[in-house]
Amino acid sequence: MNETATPQMQDQTLEDYTTADGRKIGGVMMDLKSITLRFGGLIAINDISFNIRQGEIRAIIGPNGAGKSSMLNVISGFYQPQEGEVWFMGKKRPTMRPYKVARQGIARTFQNIALFEGMTVLDNIMTGRLNFMKTGWVAQSIWLGSAKKEETINRQKVEEIIDFLEIQTIRKTPVGRLPYGLKKRVELARALAAEPNLLLLDEPMAGMNVEEKEDMSRFILDVNDEFGTTIALIEHDMGVVMDLSDRVVVMDYGKKIGDGTPDEVRNNQEVIEAYLGVSHD
């Protein structure tokens, strides 16, 4: 990385921001500038710019095929946009492999759960600590002192997360035997194990019943509150999005049609027409 850190606050509107509930959130953590992503002739993301601030919960919403997941994949480094720049922590991010992005402190969950079904919950969450394991496989296989120490530290962190997400009962249960709602929670646990600065959640509440949704919302708020983790999430449930998030980006057919607080977005005519449905009052 030969880019030097440049002051990122060129735009005055990016200065301190106060949320609807009076909470101050920090400066810009991730800035996406004019991102365009094409798959052959198909334009998935069309010249979109928005930012994510330190400590906020940022929602990305839009109808099916709007390009939300593609956007998340651009942030996580899985897709490389043909045009535009990704600025992270005040630096322009060069093309890099997703695992390197992960090392920068970005973790994610998937829309379709991507856990190791045969492994226990504990082992699954431990995989989230991969970036913190420095000892080699030789040291680990013969259980050298350094490997043992490292394992203890990592396990401790994982146990804190297990406690936090209240999944002590299923610690030793193979993931394959868990119901859907719990699998989602385990996935969140694994992402948290990476101690991310920025947590990406791809439809964390899809397919859940009301109670599971309430639990998950609580956990997302608690993660944000306790660890100060910045969260970007995609979600279809409007009630959840409006309740949880500090700011919302609305996408439709690869374009950004709205950006602001939940209330601003709710009253944006274009958004209403495209997504929320026309209101009759």
Binding site: R155, E159, F164, Q168, T169, D225, E226
Partner: protein
């Protein structure tokens, strides 16, 4: 035990334990996947820090401190610390609704609340406007509370920190020294199924004497391990995890979360254990379900050895003699089945186990006893600081609740109501002199509200029913329908039964067959049937039920007082009693009045001597439609043992 005179309060007991065994483990809690431990010395440090913190926060002598949360060492310390600081601890049920909580908090006028987590804090916050006395909330788990207004809220560790840094040691010592045996140890609110909860005031004397007596009764020592998983506001947990634990000096283990109780139980392997019948029942069910899935070999082995256990296990446990061959089989079974099974259940090390609360089915009771688990019954009340009667090792039965606990006197009045007097008898109902007076007589005798009698040959108490549910028959003898119905329902073939006989000259009964059990029997014996109704009236089914009824009669006839409750005639109902038809409540309690009204023709037939009756009954289907079913029911006579014969 020489120092029962000097042990005037729980704090002095704690100090005594520190002196005796400072480095022994007093508390364990599983957290972050590991059992964290505190020695007696460390526990006292924690308690002192909290007590000094409370004083620094402005707690005065005689203030009430409500404690709401799940079983955690810190919550137990809160109880002792409040006492040390001269306050009175009031543990409250953590699953209580906000209104119930508000009632208790208002009633005791708590100035401080020590809450387990956000859920409890929220509940208290919801009702705090109505509580003029409430000043400060102390919370243990700060998760999710970061954004709350902290003007009247402090974290538990911060209170301890305050106590450590600015605490006044002299003041604390002064207040602790002021405690006497007569000062209030705790106020426990009874659940109050009938009226408003009542705050039962227990003195140090009540708690310590009861703990001492009961520890001696079962020879409990500092080597016991218990799992604290029952509600902290329940008197049983208070005695087991506070009174007895402090008296005997044994270790209290707290589970990681309520859901992990079963696996934590297994890891700890308690030596002293209490559970209500439901816990044992659900354990047994899960064992049976898992055995269904086991390999054929394992299943046959299990079935074989369980038969052996059933035959000789209880006898061996009571120290009786069995044949050499049986002894050998049992030893083999121990190796192959019983010990591994007990280990899985977490019950392998149990020396003393108790169940209480409600009648336990004899089959269920015998299952655990046959494995060699010393499961016993006790009978107790909050007002008695738990123990009224309990069973001695070697004299254990499913249908009695034991002999009076040490120091307890029993008497039965003319109505059959049980009264007791003991060192554990409560001081008073807090701010409720009227109830205190109606429950506790001047000379210390307390009414239990339960009807029962003492068996002459064994001296064991048997509880029949609540006094208000017990009636009289025409000849003025005792009529205890629930007692008889429970006996009938312990047969797997019988799902429900309703016994009639109040103000009549004899008892008769309706029986509901259990379709699962009887259907299973029909399948095995090639009995064809098209409907519940047809199966219920099958002559062979009536014979089976008839045999059950006769057996129940035989067992009832053994009790002189209840001999009149024998069932003379019965019929098997053509439909299951259903909550949709209003015949039973949603919690499956029989609605006697509704049934007597609705099936009046059947009741009349039972008493007029007819041998069968044609009846039409309206039923409500699940979708709400109504229909009629008709049936001709046969009425059978049951073998009744005459009083003269039983007396002879």
């Amino acid at each position: 035990m020489t120092d029962s005179n000097t042990a005037v309060s729980l704090p002095t007991l704690l100090a005594r334990n520190v002196q005796r065994r400072a480095k022994a483990i007093a508390y364990r809690e599983k957290e972050y996947g590991i059992w964290q431990t505190w020695t007696w010395f460390e526990a006292q440090q924690e308690v002192d820090a909290l007590a000094k913190g409370l004083i620094a926060l402005g707690a005065n002598r005689g203030d009430y401190v409500a404690i709401i949360g799940r079983n955690r060492p810190a919550m137990y310390w809160a109880g002792i610390a409040s006492q040390k600081a001269g306050c009175i601890p009031v543990p409250l049920y953590q699953d209580a609704s906000a209104e119930e909580l508000a009632y208790a908090l208002d009633h005791c006028g708590a100035r401080f609340v020590i809450a387990g987590d956000q859920e409890q804090v929220d509940k208290v916050a919801d009702v705090s406007d109505e509580l003029s006395n409430l000043e400060h909330v102390i919370y243990l788990d700060g998760r999710g509370l970061r954004k709350y207004d902290h003007e009247q809220m402090t974290a538990y560790i911060d209170v301890q920190k305050l106590g450590r840094e600015q605490g006044d040691d002299d003041e604390l010592a002064q207040r602790t020294a002021e405690l006497t045996a007569q000062s209030t140890c705790v106020i426990l609110y009874t659940s109050g199924t009938t009226s408003r909860p009542k705050g039962v005031v227990l003195s140090n004397h009540n708690v310590i004497e009861t703990a001492k007596n009961s520890c001696e009764f079962d020879k409990l020592t500092h080597k016991e391990e218990i799992l604290a998983y029952l509600p902290m506001a329940w008197v049983g947990d208070y005695i087991f995890s506070m009174g007895q634990a402090l008296w005997a000096g044994f270790c209290v283990n707290c589970p990681e979360s309520p859901d992990t109780m079963q696996s934590d139980l297994r890891e700890i392997g308690p030596t002293y254990f209490f559970a209500p019948p439901q816990v044992f029942e659900s354990q047994l069910t899960s064992v049976m379900i898992r055995m269904e899935d086991a390999s054929k070999f394992k299943k046959r082995m299990f079935d074989h050895f369980m038969k052996v256990a059933k035959r000789v296990g209880p006898t061996l446990l009571d120290g009786g003699k069995v044949g050499f061959k049986d002894k050998l089989s049992y030893q083999l079974g121990k190796l192959m089945v019983y010990e591994p099974l007990k280990d899985t259940l977490g019950l392998r090390r149990i020396r003393v186990g108790y169940t209480a609360g409600e009648a336990i089915g004899p089959e269920l009771f015998e299952f655990y006893r046959s494995l060699g688990i010393n499961l016993k019954q006790l009978y107790g009340q909050t007002e008695a600081t738990v123990f009224i009667t309990q069973q001695k090792d070697g004299a254990v039965r499913a249908d009695t609740v034991g002999i009076p606990s040490p120091g307890v006197e029993l008497k039965i009045d003319d109505n059959g109501e049980v009264f007791y007097r003991s060192p554990g008898v409560f001081v008073e109902y807090y701010k409720n002199a009227e109830s205190t007076a109606s429950t506790k007589a001047q000379d210390g005798w307390v009414a239990t509200g339960d009807a029962g009698f003492i068996e002459e040959d064994t001296g064991q108490l048997r509880i029949i029913d609540r006094v208000k549910d017990v009636g009289k028959m025409a000849d003025n003898s005792l009529f205890a329908p629930k007692y008889v119905e429970n006996k009938l329902k312990f047969y797997p073939d019988i799902l429900e039964s309703v016994v009639f006989g109040a103000e009549r000259d004899k008892c008769c009964a309706f029986i509901n067959i259990d379709l699962t059990s009887v259907g299973n029997w029909a399948e095995r014996n090639n009995v064809a049937y098209a409907s519940y109704q047809e199966l219920s009236q099958h002559p062979e089914v009536l014979n089976i039920i008839g045999r059950h009824v006769s057996e129940v009669n035989t067992s009832i006839a053994e009790d002189e007082m209840l001999a009149g409750c024998q069932i003379h005639r019965f019929l098997v109902l053509h439909k299951e009693l259903d909550a949709d038809d209003g015949e039973i409540t949603r919690t499956r309690k029989v609605r006697r009045g509704v049934i007597a009204e609705k099936f009046k023709d059947l009741v009349d037939a039972l008493y007029d001597g007819s041998s069968s009756i044609y009846t039409e009954t309206e039923v409500t289907y699940e979708d709400g439609r109504k229909g009629k079913i008709t049936a001709t029911l046969e009425i059978r006579d049951a073998t009744v043992i005459s009083r003269e014969a039983s007396a002879a």
